[in-house]
């Protein structure tokens, strides 16, 4: 039985944790490091920071967050958002990230995957695919936070990315992200069955049964979770300078039943999915 990873995904804008619905409609929830620390203590298997608006100003604050996280949290950290060149990737890895997630940069320049795999090792390169279901049932890859179409069919692109050297593939359903309506199982399974490397499913978890389904039916090797955890954690973390009312947030994502990571993992374990127990995360503190 393989052990599945549960990965809290934190979208970051201007130094804040944010969350949108269908990759837009951004709401500020608080400081990423506080959420990250809580998730690490509760048994997160990895963390993923996605820089939602990648600008020069935004990049510096992101690097600070990466450095602070890497000194305090000793679990793998993936960072993505606006990485366009080998130097961009090197910069986040040097700051303390273990893996770099790339999307737009490698759609525009697929050779970047091969160059980065050569320079840093395949295991450090995660190709991130944002997928939108088309009328004919196929899935098309999008870039720029789900705004621009690429004409690339998702499974074919995933296979090509892996052939070029991607160590993992992360698949996000743009249609489902933030809605709490569940992962797109067909999308995830089609990619998971097509590539020989681990596949991380992202986008759509509203309750633990969704996470269970994307593992057992979607064949995901790892699961990215955002709203499901953030909306719960946000109620206990002091939110300073937040321009958001949690009640307002919940109205946008009514189908999300927030819970903490330990409860999520306990659910999965009780339903036959092997994951690192949340309790052992504290054993040696």
């Amino acid at each position: 039985m393989r052990t599945v990873r549960i990965i809290p995904r934190l979208d970051i804008k201007g130094g804040n944790l944010v969350k949108g619905v269908r990759l837009e409609g951004i709401r500020v929830l608080g400081k990423p490091e506080e959420f990250a620390r809580q998730y690490a203590e509760q048994g997160a298997d990895e963390l993923c920071y996605m820089d939602v608006v990648a600008s020069l100003y935004g990049r510096n604050s992101l690097l600070d967050i990466i450095e602070r996280t890497a000194r305090a949290i000793f679990i793998p950290l993936t960072v993505g958002g606006g990485l366009r060149t080998i130097e961009d990737i090197r910069t986040v890895l040097r700051a303390g990230a273990d893996k770099a997630a790339v999307n737009t940069g490698v759609v525009r320049t697929p050779q970047l995957i091969a160059d980065a795999a050569q320079a840093f090792g395949s295991s450090t390169i995660v190709v991130s695919i944002e997928a939108m279901r088309q009328r004919d049932g196929h899935y098309e890859a999008f870039v720029d936070s789900g705004r621009e179409r690429t004409g690339l069919e998702v499974v074919a692109w995933a296979k090509r990315a892996v052939a070029l050297g991607a160590g993992e593939v992360m698949v996000t359903s743009v249609d489902r992200d933030g809605t709490g309506l569940g992962y797109d199982l067909e999308l995830v399974r089609s990619v998971a069955n097509a590539v020989p490397v681990p596949v991380i499913a992202s986008g759509g978890a509203g309750n633990p049964a969704h996470v269970h389904a994307v593992i057992t039916e979607g064949h995901a090797d790892a699961v990215g979770v955002a709203s499901l955890l953030h909306y719960h954690a946000a109620t206990s973390i002091e939110v300073q300078d937040a321009h958001v009312n949690i009640v307002e947030v919940k109205r946008h994502a009514a189908a999300v039943s927030p819970m903490d990571l330990a409860t999520l993992k306990a659910y999965l374990t009780a339903h036959g999915v092997l994951c690192r127990p949340a309790t052992t995360a504290r054993a040696y503190v």
Partner: protein
């Protein structure tokens, strides 16, 4: 620890050197990253990290003049901790991309996980093995002559550590195996303890509090000599 007494993390161009360094600092050790052979010769303890290809690693160690100082230091009794590829390099040969000779400090070979294993639900078991996995620590029969505790002492059941690898080592002498894990229907060597030579297939610097605990015990071992 003073400069002369520090741990040297060997930089041969591969591996997440700085996360290893951060982790050692977090447990109170003074650790330097270095590709200078004299820093290997004067170190009180060594860490051999590694992520990437076996053949490239051996070539890098050789071309940077690090191979002989490393082997000499270990043979003279300097404690060494190998991580991930750093465990595999200790062995005789690897089957990655042909056959490559390793450091041959331990007799055995390195082979790839099978690529066509499927779970009962029909999900493919992927290679590389990426993620946390249960690690069962055994009591090695080769204890250090002074009875000093190894980094893997006292770790109970239900230990989970973080792995990223496509290959695993098969030691000829099972007594050097300090821990086992299971993946793709293979029960494989997850850690090594042989006199003052230790290694883990998993990444202790990415294995949360448990990993830091093992690194802390390695530092204590180094300081006890």
């Amino acid at each position: 620890m003073s400069e002369r007494e520090s741990i040297t993390i060997i930089d041969y161009g591969l591996g997440n050197l700085y996360s290893v360094q951060h982790a050692l600092h977090a447990v109170g050790a003074s650790a330097r990253v270095s590709s200078d052979p004299s820093d290997i010769a004067t170190a009180r303890g060594l860490v051999l990290p590694g992520v990437g290809a076996f053949g490239v690693a051996m070539e890098n160690l050789r071309s940077r003049g690090l191979l002989e100082p490393l082997v000499r230091a270990v043979r003279s009794g300097v404690p060494c901790f190998g991580i991930c590829l750093g465990l595999q390099l200790l062995f005789s040969v690897s089957e990655e991309f042909g056959a490559h000779a390793g450091l041959d400090m331990l007799s055995g070979r390195v082979v790839r996980f099978p690529g066509s294993v499927v779970t009962p639900e029909g999900a493919p078991v992927k290679v590389p093995h990426v993620g946390w996995n249960r690690v069962t620590f055994t009591v090695p029969e080769h204890q250090d002559a002074r009875g000093a505790p190894s980094p893997f002492d006292g770790i109970g059941d239900d230990a989970f550590c973080y792995f990223v690898h496509s290959f695993y080592a098969i030691p000829n002498d099972p007594r050097v195996v300090a821990a086992y894990a299971e993946y793709a229907s293979v029960r494989f060597c997850a850690a090594i303890a042989h006199e003052h030579l230790f290694a883990s297939q998993f990444h202790p610097e990415r294995s949360g509090a448990l990993g830091l605990h093992m690194l802390k015990q390695f530092v204590a071992y180094v300081q006890s000599l």
